[in-house]
């Protein structure tokens, strides 16, 4: 295995720093929301992880298109990396949302359009990895994965727009307001700082994890090829 590039090492350290700073701003700089109290602070990480996860799913759909055109396995590797990191981030989004919902909505979970589409998206990509595991031929696996990720990618914009298209109790934070939302709030300047810094921090962390996961994929492919060579 090649040693880590210096840029990636710097990015690793930068990720830890921005995560720490983001948590500090969210916990100590942003003011306490008067109606919900401290639980509102999970909103910063909730949005940060949701933004990068949905972006990752859309990126994966883009990589799928490029793979289907070029048939180059590099794009399959990028697609898998983007989906895996996004899946982890989206799990955090859902769990944080559920924790916030308990005091705000008085329930851990409700089958609201946003929550339902988010759960479906998460399940679609869990199934993606389960189905990939069942195919041994790398080219077939990549082709199947590309088609699946392309179709699955539609769930990301549906999840994002669910609160804008359907009647929902989920608050709309970016560009728009929902009169039926429960737990909505207007942001103070310090809250906005925490919000935008969290978006920035999770973007940096996503890039770092994505890069690390691509390298892991390269290593996996190398081992797989060598295994075939040795057993033949």
């Amino acid at each position: 295995m090649q040693s880590k590039p210096v840029t990636l090492r710097i990015l690793d350290i930068a990720s830890i720093i921005v995560l720490g700073v983001s948590a500090y701003i969210a916990l100590f700089v942003a003011p306490t929301e008067l109606v919900m109290g401290d639980v509102q602070r999970v909103f910063y990480f909730h949005i940060g992880t949701a933004w990068t996860a949905l972006l990752g799913f859309i990126l994966a759909a883009g990589f799928s298109v490029i793979y289907l055109i070029t048939k180059n396995l590099l794009w399959d590797r990028l697609q898998v990396a983007a989906i895996e990191v996004s899946l982890v981030f989206f799990l955090i989004t859902i769990v944080l949302g559920s924790i916030w919902a308990r005091p705000a909505w008085n329930t851990w979970w409700t089958w609201d359009p946003r929550l339902t589409t988010a759960a479906i998206t998460e399940l679609i990509y869990i199934a993606y990895f389960m189905l990939r595991q069942g195919i041994d031929d790398p080219d077939r696996r990549a082709r199947f994965g590309a088609v699946y990720a392309l179709i699955g990618g539609l769930s990301a914009p549906i999840t994002f727009f669910a609160i804008r298209l359907f009647r929902t109790i989920h608050p709309v934070v970016i560009s728009g307001s929902n009169p039926e939302a429960e737990g909505a709030f207007s942001m103070t300047p310090d809250m906005r700082t925490a919000f935008f810094f969290a978006l920035f921090a999770f973007t940096v962390i996503f890039i770092d994890l994505f890069w690390n996961r691509i390298r892991l994929g390269e290593l996996q492919d190398k081992v797989e090829q060598l295994k075939l060579k040795v057993t033949m």
Binding site: M1, F45, I92, N106, L216
Partner: protein
């Protein structure tokens, strides 16, 4: 919650949320590290196996060559 006069104490939920977020991210980073380490070990072992297989192949090829030479050598000896 929305008809109250004072801000409720929901810090327990906040702590739970941040703890889960950090734990999940930590576990994922750990999984990348462990998978990387295991694959590196597999790669080293497979490379060694591949080298051994190549050496064995060369040796058996040499042996075959020698075996093929033997009848000719005998003929020469008879002449």
């Amino acid at each position: 919650m929305f008809f109250q006069e004072t801000t409720p104490d929901t810090s327990g939920y906040m702590i739970a949320g941040y703890t889960i977020a950090f734990v999940v991210m930590g576990l994922y980073v750990l999984s990348i590290y462990l998978r990387n380490r295991n694959l590196s070990q597999d790669l080293t072992m497979l490379e060694e196996l591949d080298e051994t297989a190549a050496e064995t192949e060369m040796r058996s090829a040499d042996q075959r060559k020698k075996n093929l030479m033997k009848p000719g050598d005998k003929k020469q000896a008879n002449l």
